[in-house]
Symmetry: C2
Subunit: 169 residues, 2 copies
């Protein structure tokens, strides 16, 4: 991919299509009944790092891995598509360890003074401590009244330096 990468999607995609095989017959519900929640970080490829094949698992990703934001997706995953396991995967060297919400709000207000009011309504959810965040997110999901009680919920750290995952909870 080069700048304006979308122009290159076509080339990479035609290669993928030529090796697509019988994946067109995969069912909508995840075969492994699992959903994963991870950060959007560019260095993480959950499918490659964890051995997730097409059709296996829901993959939910947002900046910092914000579990409350992921909740709508988790409920849909469990209630409509039958998943019963959730893997929460934070990672080392997260950009979110480096700023606070007021810092980012101030930066945005300088760039977009006319949108100051909207900027103040956005909580960016950085986090100060990595393993604590994993435990907090697992706890949040285990205690949430709309997450199925029998779910197996685990928490992990992915090391961007080595590619290793380590189970925390």
């Amino acid at each position: 991919m080069s700048t304006e990468n979308y122009k290159n999607f076509a080339g990479s995609n035609s290669q993928y299509v030529s090796q697509f095989g019988d994946k067109g017959a995969l069912a909508l519900p995840p075969a492994k009944k699992v959903s994963t929640i991870t950060c959007m970080d560019a260095r993480i490829d959950p499918a490659a790092a964890l051995g997730i094949e097409e059709g296996d698992a829901h993959v939910i990703r947002n900046a910092v891995l914000h579990s409350k934001e992921a909740l709508r997706s988790v409920i849909i995953s469990q209630q409509l598509l039958g998943t019963r396991e959730i893997a929460v995967i934070h990672h080392s060297d997260c950009g979110m360890l480096t700023f606070t919400t007021p810092q980012l709000q101030d930066k945005l207000k300088v760039a977009y003074p006319s949108a100051a009011k909207e900027i103040e309504t956005i909580e960016f959810h950085p986090f100060p401590q990595l393993e604590e965040s994993v435990k907090d997110d697992v706890q949040f999901l285990r205690n949430h009244p709309l997450v199925i009680k029998e779910s197996v919920i685990t928490g992990w750290v992915y090391e961007v330096e080595t590619g290793k995952v380590k189970q925390i909870v």
Copy 2:
């Protein structure tokens, strides 16, 4: 992976680690300055389907691809990590085409009568028409005051039946 898949993450991951090479030196900001927004659907592997390598692009995923929910991630991606291109990728055969928010709320209220009040506050954001949703999401991002004006924003449909992507906008 079998049931209780997390037990198998270790095995798949050790294979990945053994082929990790020099990826530990990748920079935090995405090398291709692009963020992608896609559904959590288990059948989609954005890295494989679009040729996204580790380090290239932010990957944001949630149920149905809800662009308003993705906005916090997009702002962080652009303001803190320098991305300037956004690819919005909806897909065929989406589970979200099959229900309405009141239907899912009713199902949940039967299962969790004591959480009825919380259930009524959740909007699940299904969508009725695929290509329209792509156009709406691209328009939403192009018009949003906190999305950088010079961003290149494109909209796509991924066909789960064939593995093909088609550009809509």
